[in-house]
Each structure stands twice: as C-alpha cells, then as structure tokens.
Symmetry: C2
Subunit: 503 residues, 2 copies
C-alpha cells in the first residue's frame, strides 16, 4: 500500500487498519497520545483500542492503559477509552465529560500537571517507561521526517521516548500546515540544559518536522477525520463587560508608561470571555501586538487578519469549524504569522518571564485575598485541570484572572471568603476581573486586596455578606495578616453542596 | 574627613553622623534598605531614623515610612523601626518578632513577595518611586564603585532606582569579601530581556562591585557593627532523622540513574534541619556537589572545607559568629568557592530550572494531598513570608519540603486534613519528609498522595484521625479527585485556636 501523504518511504509497507495498529497495545501499557485542546489527536486507533478493551472486559479479562497526552483531546480518544473503562491513569489535562465523571467518582487516577513540565518529567524517569506513542501527523516526507498536524503538544517527546510508535496520517489536516511548526530539539536534562534562545515571540529556533527512528514505527494508519472543533460562541454582555474593564486597564497602563503601546506578548485562554477580550483588543489602540500563548482560537485569527496582531506563537489550534475553513482558505496569509511549538517551549517559564507575557486566564473562584481556584469545584470535584495557567501566571508581566461574578444563575459566587482549593497563590494573581469591575492587586497587602476585590469584583448580591465576613474576620481572626474565620471559611461551599445555593 | 575604606574619592566630604544622614529621610518616604537573612543590613541610620520617628510621635506629629529590603534584616532595622511604630508598609520578607507582631495585629501592611520578583517589580513601576536607598557596603573604591558587604539582595536595584543614596561603610565586614560578588547588570524590562547566561552554578556573569551615580549619594556613614549572626544550633534527633530519610532518597535516585553522582545544585534553607541535611550530605557518597541557593550557612562552609561541595552560589551569608570568624580566617580558601549574586539572579526561575536545583525548604504544615503552607500559622498569622521558596519549588528538579511531624510538644500536627493557607500547590511539592519518613509524591494522583503522606510522614498519634478523615472523605466528598469534607477541613486548626491543641 502507499498514499500521497506517505511518499517515497519504506513506511508505506506499515500502513494498516486501526484495529491492526491497536493490536500493538497491551493491557498495562503507558501510551503517549498526541492532542492538545481538541486538535491533532489520533482519531482511529484509540477507537479501535476502546473496542478491544470492551471485548476483553466482556470476556472477563482486565484491560486498562495509562494515557499521557498534550492536553485535552476529543471524544474518539478520552471519551471512547473512558467509556470502555479503559483508562487507569491519566495525565496531564482532561476536559472530556465522561473521563471527568470517572475521575470524580474516584475510578480513574488523574495526575493534573503544569503543561510545561510534562516533557521534562517524562525524561526525568519517575513516571516510568513509555510503551507506545500514538501520534497524528499530517504527512510523512520522503526523508522519513513527520509533518506535524494541528497541534504539537508533547509529540516530540513521545516519539523520542516510546518503544513503539503508531502514526495516524490524517488527510483532513491541511497540507499547507507544513512549515508552520518550530520543533526545538535543544532541550536536555540538567546539568546539560542551556538557555532557550527565544527573545521575540516570532524567533524560530527549531525545525519544521519531527524526526523518528523508523525502526520504532510499527504501524501507519490513514485517517480522514476532523478535529473536535467547537462552534464559536459569540460574546454575551457579561463577557463584553469583562473585556471592556481589561482593555481599559491596559490603556491606563500604556498611558502611565508602564506598558509599551504594542503591549507585551499576550497569552489568552479559550472560550467566550477570551474571545471577547480579543475582540476588545481589536478595537483598542494597541498596535502591533504579538501573542505567546498555548492556543490559536477564532479571535486570534481575526486579530491577525486586522493587522492589530503581528504574529502568534502557540502549541495548537482551537478553532470553530468555520474558522478552520477560513484559515485553510487563506493559509498563504497566515503561514508566516503563526508558529506552533512543543508545549515545553510554548509554556516554558524561562521564555514567558523573559518576554513578559500578559497572562489572561479564566478561573472557577477567587477568595477575597486573591487566591485563585482554577480546577476544583467546591474544593474536590475536578473541572479540567491547571493546564498552563501556572506556567503563565507565575511568570507573567501582569497575571490576570477573569470570570463572571456568579455561576449557576447566581447560586454560586465567584468571589468567596476562602478558596476551597488553591491553584494560584496571591503572589501570582495581580489582577482580577468580573463584569462588575477590575481589582488591581499589585503591591497590596492581603487586607488591601480584600477591600479591592469585594468592592470591584463581587456581585452586588454577595457583596454585603463578603464585607460582613471580612469585618468580623478583622475582629476575631487568630492573626491579622490574612484574617480568616476558620469555622466560616468554607461555609459558603458547604451551603452550596447542601442546598444548591451559596446564598 | 576621610577613612581607609572611603579612599581617594570626593565622597569623603559626605561622611557624617547617622543622625545627619537620617535627616534626609522624610515621613512618607519609601526606603530601599540593604539586608538579607540578617546580614549586610544598615546598622546605624535605621536606629537614628527610629529615634527621629519616636521624637516626632512624642511631639504629636505623624512619621511613618515604607520599607523595602532584600529579605530579613536585624533588630537595629526592622526591630527598631517597628518599635517606633514607624513602618507603614513592608516588603518583601520579615522575620523580626516586633514587626511580626505589628503585622499580626493589623498595624503594618505587609506585601509578602517571591524574592526573585522584587527587583523586576520595583522597575515595573506600580510600587511607586523609591525615595531613598540605605545600603551597607564594605568599602568604596577610588573609582567610586562600591564593594558589597555580606549580602547582595536588591542593592543594585535600590542604588539604581533611588533618588537619594545613603551609604553605610561597615569596617566590621571583612575586606577580603572584595572580589567574591558577581553583580549582573544585564537585566531589563521586557521587551528587552535576554537570556541570563548562567549554565553552571559557578559561572561569573557580572562585575565585583556596584556602580552608583555619585551625585545621588547624600551621605556616607561609617560603622563598625556585626551582622545579626545567630548562634549555631546543633541538630537534634528529629532533624537528624529527617536528614537521614532525605539522604537515603537521594542515594536511591542516584542508584536508579535518575540523578548524577554529584547530584544537581542544592538549594537549602537555614536552621537546624537544613544544617542537619548538609551534615548528612557530608557523610554521603555524593562528590563533588555544588550549591545554587539563597544563603551560605555554617553547614555549607563545612561542606566546602571537606571538599564534598565544590562551590556555592548565593545572595547572602547567614553564619554563626564562630563560623564568620572561621571564614574570615580562611578567606583565601573560600574566596573562589563562594559567589554572591543579586537575589533576582540567585532566585531567578530561569536559572533554577536550567540548573535543575534540588530544592529543600521548610514548611509550617502540609495537607494530606501535599499542599504546603509555608507562611500562615492557622491560616491567618504570618510567620515570616514565602521568601524564595516559590522561586525554587516550582522550578526545581525535585522539590522537597521538610518539617518535624508535630509542633508545640505535639499539640500541632504538621500533616493536616486541609492546609489552612497554601503557598505551594501539589504540583510544586514532590517530596515531603518528617522524622517518621519520606513520601515520594512524583506522578501520583491526589488520593495516592494522601495514602503516601499519611503512612510515611504523619506522627503516629495523628495518623488514625487522618486516615479516618480520608476514609470518610472518600465516601462523602462532593467530588473524588481531591476528597474533602467541607465542614471538617479546617476543624483541626479551629480546635487548636480554641483549645490550644489539635488533638
């Protein structure tokens, strides 16, 4: 067999069905899968593996695997394998609803990691060996090098570390992706680490393709399947208000001489609010901006098209189906403006601090002192994971967290007396924004932060109760650096769990 | 006037009394003081300032200042100014008991910062202008450059940023310090930041002296006063047990091929346990080690003398009086083995991650999931501050936190159901050690971490209650990623505050 995307190599001989490829995977194996934010994940082999796992379970045999990825994948991977009860252990990030439920029922072990640390820790050795890599590529070149697809993630590391490699060549991915990637092969374990030579977001430091020992490649599977591209959600009024407060803040920083007119490289999450912020930036007088971030979403393509954004560095796409079509149509325009890197580089603390990124991340809740919970609903139920927020927040020039001031139709206040779980400590949270306003926490003591957060960010319905808590904590707390009433600190969360509302 | 340590410069004309120098400081000023871990802080001007503040208060006038330092100082600075009720705002770290009490009574605003971020944030501008720098040096050279004393801290930044500079020339400091420092002038604000060119702990990248615009120097004060050198506390049995578990762990990592035989650069805090660990390392088969750390304490000098430690990079000394004498006596031996850098470099995340430091820090408490509280007793009362622990823990090759398993004669358990304050999130805590054992948490899910911490680290008296909490949380928690009983999570701390014991 051969194919236009597997040209002139001996690998044509290894083209086989997904079922045949999945036969190379054994129960107990650790599998490094491609995939980041629903793009570039393998779409056929995990489904075939899930079927084999279900068959084994039906026959009364145990069959579970350990799954490592870049970040979130799609229903054909996490969803199918979780549904088959096939994932024993998962790292570093998950947003699949079926897998999430299994984790929160205590049926799947989940190691929630800083995304920058996955590749180095895989090399460090304590995670154990990597048995199989299953990596989607958009093509194989005649010299055997692999053209990455719509995400880079940890693929370089999986291809280097795995004993066996299974490739999915997805002809749905645009061939025009070739040349957009920058795969850096200069990382090492200490004492052999050297500076990452990036001083501008557009610095190219690597090569456009992955290398892979052909003897390790046991199977090549051809696919023609779309990424899990989520539909674009237009910004609602709340998201637009959050964006507006944030853009105003950046404008003040520029006019006070604390930020350059072109800002500093922006990092932005995905979703409704992030897209609203990007739209807000399109109408603001910042020119020309750059992005050093994890993910290219719809709003960033629009910013690039308008010329306000000069270029964007990321590790993956996360586009709506329409935006994906538009990007492929205008690839000649986009190709030299977008750079996809391994996530150990897109999220590298060294580079983020050097560039001075403006980090903008969502959150589940913040307490009145500015501790941020990004991961655990009511302190115990995982939502997705910390992802890259810790990489960016601690090293950003300005670290912003944003959210609507309430959730569940007002039953949950985003601002609480005491965070039920902490992902970002007060030192790493410089600005909090809700639709009601923005709290600039830089240089403030905890008590000063509490006053700013309650006054500017809390929903008016919850503000009196927060002020009352803070006032009584200032009277009765054991210490007054961070006044806390130990018997009430988590009472809002307890009330929600018991009654369905924090009110 | 002139002096042997203020040679051949026009600065001799500015030699004056501490009282005269303190006259340059006004109420409301922000003052950048030298000083890190009780070394290299100004000893005369702050005392004179405190006297002037007390006089103003007696006359019914308000007089308070904002104080920035490297880290902790001594009783002649924080103690005297706090006693005079003269500090309105303090950053980035404090260990003075009088200042601590004022903070915990809510009478002083305290901005507790990552030590690596102080200098860059001072440049960023949101902290406001720096009116006066008061910096101890060990001499002034004929070209006007300043020979640093026993700590570097943020002095470079204070000298660059302040409108007025007051120098204390302390002849108590050894003249042999000259040449030991490495002052790097290559930092910048983004977008002009470049890689910090350190790839080995002993790389010299700067110059031995500070530069300072002589027109800004308003006063030179001569002193002859010792640093706050604390007496050496010999290791007790608990500290030796902690050290022994940790050294065993490192030996296993070496024999498993996960650490080189010379280890990786060690970072170690100060105190009883840290010294016990250094003593333990002296008897272990690691050779030759290096240190990339904040502080050179007694145990590190011994390691250098034995030859097991090849060199140490830090930002300050923290020696017992006897060790200080010994170091001065053998300065020819030590001079090329010790390197003092600005704290923005000694604690730079970029360098720490590149070198792959083995971070060993103390803690107040850890919860069963491995969230670590380094700063707030019972969640609200500040002990000292986060210091450099966040810089090192998040970027270390292996991040270790250690403590005796109980405090206050057993009334407090160091391992608790839920940390009352979080400084280090589970992702940044890889190993926890108490005298009872070591929990290697790398690659574990929260529930697996809980089992390891309770079994290996908790005091046997508290272990059944922790196991009972964890068991019930596994039954009743809202979610099962990090099982939590919201009504009990902080009950141990509440019990301590109410009854004086967690039992």
């Amino acid at each position: 067999m051969s194919s236009e995307r597997v040209t002139g190599t001996t690998l044509g001989a290894k083209i086989m069905s997904a079922e045949g490829a999945a036969d190379f995977i054994q129960s107990g194996d650790t599998i490094g899968m491609s995939g980041f934010t629903g793009s570039g994940y393998p779409k056929a082999v995990p489904l075939a593996l899930a079927a084999q796992i279900e068959a084994a379970h039906s026959a009364g045999n145990s069959f579970r695997v350990r799954v490592w990825t870049g970040a979130s994948t799609g229903p054909e991977l996490d969803g199918a394998l979780a549904k088959a009860n096939g994932i024993e252990f998962r790292l570093p990030y998950n947003s699949d609803p079926i897998a999430r439920e299994q984790i929160n029922r205590g049926e799947m072990e989940y190691f929630d990691m800083h995304l920058s640390q996955v590749a180095p820790m895989a090399w460090q050795g304590f995670l154990g060996p990597l048995d199989v890599a299953v990596v989607e590529v958009s093509g194989i070149r005649s010299d055997g090098s692999l053209i990455p697809s719509s995400s880079v993630g940890n693929n370089k590391t999986w291809l280097d570390r795995a004993s066996k490699v299974i490739l999915e060549v997805n002809r749905w991915q645009s061939q025009a992706l070739e040349g957009m990637h920058d795969i850096y092969y200069g990382t090492a374990l200490p004492p052999d680490r050297v500076p990452i030579p990036i001083t501008r977001p557009d610095d190219r430091i690597g090569q456009p393709c992955f290398r892979c020992d052909p003897d390790k490649i046991v199977a090549v599977v051809e696919t023609d399947a779309p990424d899990r591209n989520a539909p674009f959600k237009p910004a609602d009024e709340t998201a637009r208000a959050i964006a507006s407060h944030l853009v105003d803040f950046f404008e003040r920083e520029v006019s006070n001489g604390r930020l350059p007119r072109s800002l500093l490289p922006i990092q932005s999450g995905v979703g409704n609010i992030a897209n609203a912020v990007l739209t807000g930036l399109a109408d603001a007088p910042f020119d020309p901006m750059t992005a050093y971030t994890e993910v290219i979403q719809d709003g960033m393509l629009s910013l690039l098209e308008s010329g306000r954004l000069r270029m964007a560095s990321a590790t993956a796409f996360s586009l709506s189906p329409e935006a994906a079509v538009e990007m492929n149509r205008r690839m000649d325009f986009f190709r030299d403006k977008i750079l996809l890197r391994p996530q150990e580089i897109s999220n590298h603390p060294e580079v983020i601090r050097r560039l001075g990124c403006l980090a903008m991340n969502g959150m589940i809740e913040a307490d009145i002192y500015g501790n941020v919970n990004s991961t655990h609903v009511m302190g115990s139920r995982i939502q997705n994971g910390i992802g890259g927020s810790g990489d960016f927040a601690r090293n950003a020039y300005i670290s912003v967290f944003m959210s609507p001031s309430t959730a569940k139709s007002g039953a949950i206040s985003t601002i609480v007396p005491h965070a039920s779980h902490v992902d970002h400590i007060t030192q790493d949270v410089q600005v909090i924004v809700t639709e009601h306003g923005l709290a600039d926490l830089r240089g403030l003591s905890p008590k000063q932060r509490a006053e700013a957060i309650i006054a500017n960010c809390a929903h008016p319905d919850y503000r009196p109760a927060l002020m009352d808590y803070f006032r009584r904590a200032r009277q009765h707390s054991y210490g007054q650096q961070t006044p806390t009433l130990l018997d009430e600190a988590l009472s809002w969360h307890r009330r929600f769990v018991e009654t369905g509302s924090m009110r």
